[in-house]
Structures are given as structure tokens and as C-alpha cells.
């Protein structure tokens, strides 16, 4: 089988398949007992060559967690979505927050999710996430009650167009309250400006020590103390 033929079969298979195909599954297609199976590298090369072929077209060949899939480009969604009467499902903030916490903190128990969000979790949320196959029970924690721990699935990554968890947007940094070097009980705390601190949070830097030049701390400290005294 020559390279062109190999490419065509892979192209057809990827387009026909209802789910992304891994290199393993592509390789298995050729295991017909009719002759030598193509090298894995040849299959990989064919996939990559296809990816280039489709670079400027209406659909693209994308690698997600469970393999490769052809998909219509996101930029054409406004037109494509007119094919369907129904709108894509929308998800509540509560559901998305829960999903995000599981994605970044897995494996995690329901109680830990509730601790982070500060509210109890409606049972329907974990149910919906499980039914969508975005999360699954990954095990049980060996503490009293043996609570289930949840983790995300490959389907979750596939759905959000991701190859692995490390492709998730970066989580913002936590800053330590000590970092602002503010002693609650000191007369003149070095002032770390609110705006500056916010910027630092954006860039994820360690909060820098406050500039020594700024010297309006005294007044602030006083105000703070006055407020605290109320």
C-alpha cells in the first residue's frame, strides 16, 4: 500500500468515525491479514500530512485527548449552528465551577468541592456531569464514610477540544497574606497599593515587597486602626 492510499483510508476512517481515533485504532484498521501492516510512523506521518492538507479548509484535523478527529472550524459556528433547530446546551455557573474544581483538583470529594465553593452542592450537578461522561468516580477516600473521589474523563477533554489536562488554562496564583507584608498591628505598615497588588495577581508574580519610597502608610494604618476600633 502506498502512502497516498494509506492517507485516503485514514482520511475516510477519521471522517466516518463517530469518535476521535487514536493511532492504535488507526493501526488496527490495517490489520486485515492481507499483508504487512503499515508502520506506526507511516500512520503518524499520514495523519500529520492530512492535518496540513486541511490547514486552509472549512474543517480541520485536530488532536484531542482520545485521538484525532475532523471538526468544523470554530469560526464558522455562526453559520453551522443554523443547521440545527436546537441551541447548544448552556451550563450554569454552579456546574461550570464544580467542573473546573474537579478538573484542576482531581481526585476530589464532594465535601472538598463544597469547601472551596462555600456552599453545598445540588445533587443534580454531579449527576449531570456524570451523565455527560465528563466526570467519573475515580475511587474512594479511605476516611470515615469512604467518600467517592471524582475525576474528569477523556470525554471531558475531547468535548473541550483539549489534548490533556495540562492544556487547561492556567490557574491563577494564590498570594499569601504575609506577602503584602502588612502587619495589622503596626503603626505604619508599608503600603502595598491595591491597584498594584491587583496587577501582580494578574501576572501571577510573587507579590513584591512594597516600594519603600511610598510613605503615606501612617495615615492608612491609622485609618485601619480607627476602623478596627469600631
Amino acid at each position: 500500500m502506498n502512502v497516498e492510499e494509506l492517507k485516503k483510508i485514514i482520511e475516510a476512517a477519521l471522517m466516518v468515525a463517530e469518535e476521535p481515533l487514536s493511532l492504535d485504532r488507526l493501526e488496527a484498521l490495517f490489520d486485515l491479514g492481507l499483508g504487512p501492516v503499515p508502520e506506526r510512523e507511516a500512520i503518524r506521518a499520514a495523519v500529520e500530512s492530512l492535518q496540513e492538507d486541511y490547514a486552509g479548509r472549512g474543517v480541520e484535523l485536530k488532536q484531542v485527548a482520545s485521538g484525532w478527529r475532523f471538526q468544523a472550524r470554530a469560526e464558522f459556528a455562526p453559520w453551522i449552528n443554523r443547521l440545527w433547530e436546537e441551541r447548544a446546551p448552556r451550563y450554569s455557573r454552579a456546574l461550570l465551577e464544580t467542573l473546573a474544581i474537579i478538573a484542576y483538583r482531581q481526585p476530589i470529594t464532594r465535601g472538598e468541592i463544597e469547601d472551596i465553593r462555600g456552599v453545598s452542592l445540588a445533587p443534580s450537578i454531579l449527576k449531570t456531569l456524570t451523565e455527560r461522561e465528563w466526570i467519573r468516580v475515580a475511587g474512594y477516600r479511605d476516611v470515615p464514610g469512604r467518600p467517592a473521589v471524582y475525576a474528569t474523563t477523556r470525554e471531558f477533554l475531547d468535548y473541550f477540544n483539549l489534548k490533556s489536562l495540562s492544556d487547561l488554562p492556567e490557574l491563577s496564583e494564590l498570594r499569601d497574606i504575609e506577602d503584602i507584608n502588612l502587619d495589622l498591628f503596626r503603626e505604619s505598615p508599608p503600603a502595598a497599593g491595591a491597584a498594584g497588588a491587583a496587577n501582580e495577581a494578574e501576572s501571577g508574580d510573587e507579590a513584591a515587597p512594597s516600594p519603600p519610597a511610598e510613605d503615606d502608610g501612617g495615615q492608612e494604618g491609622g485609618a485601619e486602626a480607627a476602623e478596627a476600633a469600631k
Binding site: P169, A194, E227
Partner: protein
Amino acid sequence: MNTGDGDLVTATHPEQEEMPFAVVQGVPLTELPKDLYIPPDALAVFLEETFEGPLDLLLYLIKRQNLDILDIPIAQITRQYMSYIDLMQELQLELAAEYLVMAAMLAEIKSRMLLPRPAPADEEEDPRAELVRRLQEYERYKKAAEDLEQLPRLERDLHAVVVPFPERHVSLRPPAVTMQELMAAFAEVLARAELFSNHRVRREPLSVRERMASVLERCRGGFVEFTRLFTVAEGRAGVVVTLLAILELLRGAMIEMVQNEPHGPIYVKAVSAQT
């Protein structure tokens, strides 16, 4: 120039004057916040759907005033928080218990901060530390959820290509078998037949069995000369094995032998279904 965070003298900070939530020091908040002046029914929906819990509400209060989360003015925030709680109760919204727990926590922090100042060397932790940690922790996942919402996703932004295949049919792949399974199966047969205990059946060298199969195969097409069944290159042992195989086949009536004249060539032929 930066404004000091945690400063309650709001009048000195221009950006805080723009904030609808600015609270003048010492004046208790008795009115509804200005930016919430909307019909009560709509307000109910707004409150229910806007805040995902007490942490979310606190974050909202902090962000509205551009305050640094690391240095929140606890008395001010507590007051504002309580005004929201009152409002929600007034509107008879079903208030999750967590909101009240948070109110108690804020009050507790506030009271600790009223305590007399310890000695400067004292390394006492900021009473707000735990709250700040929780707020930040929640905030980062709130942000992560927003990022997640922005990711292109199937159904909404992306659509998987699925083209039909007219020749589609489902085939059946035969199951796999391992040598271990095969041997286990045979071991069971032998055990059942009690072959080992009685020694009723002599175990034969496999090579004879194999040679039987190959001799049989060679003389399926018709008569083969006896001597041609032997391969001299196999040496004495090979020849003996072949002979044993032929004898065994004869005994089992699976081949027939003919010799047309004394001392003439012997021909061997497999017994076939026809004739």
C-alpha cells in the same frame, strides 16, 4: 499614585467615589444599595442567580470597590455583607445556611481585630488570613470556570465531522485463544480421562504424531513412492520417526500400501472419502 488598600476614608480616594458602594464612615447603611434599585421581583432573581454563595457575594463586594483581597477592611465589608443578607431576608428569599455561617465568621473576625494589640514581637496570625485564603481559593476556580466557559467546545463552537459510509456493515472478529488456555483445556481432558493414573494410553513422542500428519498430507494426492517419504538428510533419527509414523498410519487404516511386484517399489496412498 496607588491608593492604600483597606482605607475607609473613601473621600480621599477618587476611584472609590465612583463606586456605588462607597460607604461613608460612621454612617450605618440603612438603605438598599443604589445599584440594586430594581423592582423587587427582578431583584429576587438577580440575587439568586448572581451569587453562587457567601464567598461569591463577598468577592463581589470586594471587587466593586477595587479592594485588595489580601487586605480587606473587615468592618466595612461585614456591614455591606449584612445589608445584603438583610435584603435577601426582607425579600423572603430562601437563604442558604452558608450565608449566615459566613455572617457569623465575619463578626468573629471583626471582634478579634478589636482585641488589644499584642506585643510587637508576637507572631499572631492575621485574623483575616483564613477568610482571605478561602476567598482567593474560590476566586481562582471562579475564574477557571469562566475560562472553561470561553474554551471552544463541541456542539456550541465545534462540530465533529461524521460522514456516512454507505457500505457499512458490522463484522465479527473471532475470539483470541492463548496457548495457556489450550493447555489448560487439555490438562482437564487428561485429568478427566484419568490418563495419567492408569497409563492406559502411552504418551508418544510428538514428532511421530507430527510426521504422521505430514506423511498423510504428502500422500493425499495419490500414490507416493515409499522411499520418497524419507528425507535422508534428516539422519537416522528422522528416518526412524518417519517409519514409525507410516506404521502408525497403517495400523490406524489411514493409508494404504501397494506393491505391484515382489521387491518392486512400494507405493503409499492416503485413504480417501471416495472409492
